[in-house]
Point group: C2
Chain length 214, copies 2
Amino acid sequence: MAVRVDLNISLDGFATTTDQTHDNPFGDDWPRLTGAYVATRTFRERVLHDSSGAGTTGVDDKYAEAYFAELGAEIMGAGMFGLHNFPDDPDWRGWWGDEPPFRIPVFVLTHTAPRPSIEMANGTTFHFLTATPQEALDRALEVAGGKDVRVGGGPTVVRDFLKAGLVDQLHVAIAPILLGRGVRLWDDLRGLESSYEVTSEVAESGTTHLTFRR
Amino acid sequence: MAVRVDLNISLDGFATTTDQTHDNPFGDDWPRLTGAYVATRTFRERVLHDSSGAGTTGVDDKYAEAYFAELGAEIMGAGMFGLHNFPDDPDWRGWWGDEPPFRIPVFVLTHTAPRPSIEMANGTTFHFLTATPQEALDRALEVAGGKDVRVGGGPTVVRDFLKAGLVDQLHVAIAPILLGRGVRLWDDLRGLESSYEVTSEVAESGTTHLTFRR
């Protein structure tokens, strides 16, 4: 059992893009930041429900496969669920569609009023809670059945878990681009590497996969 | 003929450390940031005058060798020369010692009063000038004899040359550490990669060597 994180970041350390608008809901930066991951066969199959076998099968795909393997529960911030998009709509079921890629219990951290859990058809259940990182992790471990728990994001939530010393494995896919704006992953984490073994591997796409393991 | 940059940066993008004190003139961060480079056989021979053949000879050393090869002139900021350390001493000859590793003309950018050039025994001559990046580059090209010109640093000077579009090859050695403080290389360079081909290579030390080439 391990607590894992996987994030896509730019060379200059931005893990979330901030150029989304009503007319361009993903923005221009997001596809560039996540392009190598989105191009993998695993992402196409698991997230886009494309069973044609299309997609890359190299180093990027190896990490994409590992991303979904052996997971028993997921924790994410309210922003990653999409809670901020329609904050006044109690029926809003997030932006992950009717078949979210998780297929496991997902705990969504929120400071707003409690909401009933949402059960999807494919094994994904979204639970909403206001909790510290340790409390949220305890809840996730209870239902994970001895498998791993992933902290999905965004970067602010990930930083909270890293600073609390709760993360066993941090994998970042570093895209060779400079965004110059967004939310930084690395702020306020001086010396983090001293608790981990760090390895790096370069994919065919030019993405560098860096892993902190303890 | 190409204009080249080589810098050591941390995962969180810091190229200069700021924890130096009178009693600890290099600080604790600098050795960690530059450790893989300092450990190379080339650095030991060229900068530390250690002719024993000691030092690493892998990927890090390949880049260290390239660092010194085919150079006709160097440009650096006043801080990298050490001009700020004893600003009121007209006889201060910088912190590079009697045998600086350059062995070529070095142009030191400064906003302070003009100084006479300093000629060292081994072919290194320091010239001081107040100039724009383009003007400094023109001066360096005049004496480079058709060889490359390197912009040595610090990061603020490098950014000025990058933003002016004057750099043909940028090599950064990314140490797998988080400094959390210092001077950032990547600020205000959004989209820089679009003018370059970007490649990466991981060294035995865990350092990732990333190169922008045009």
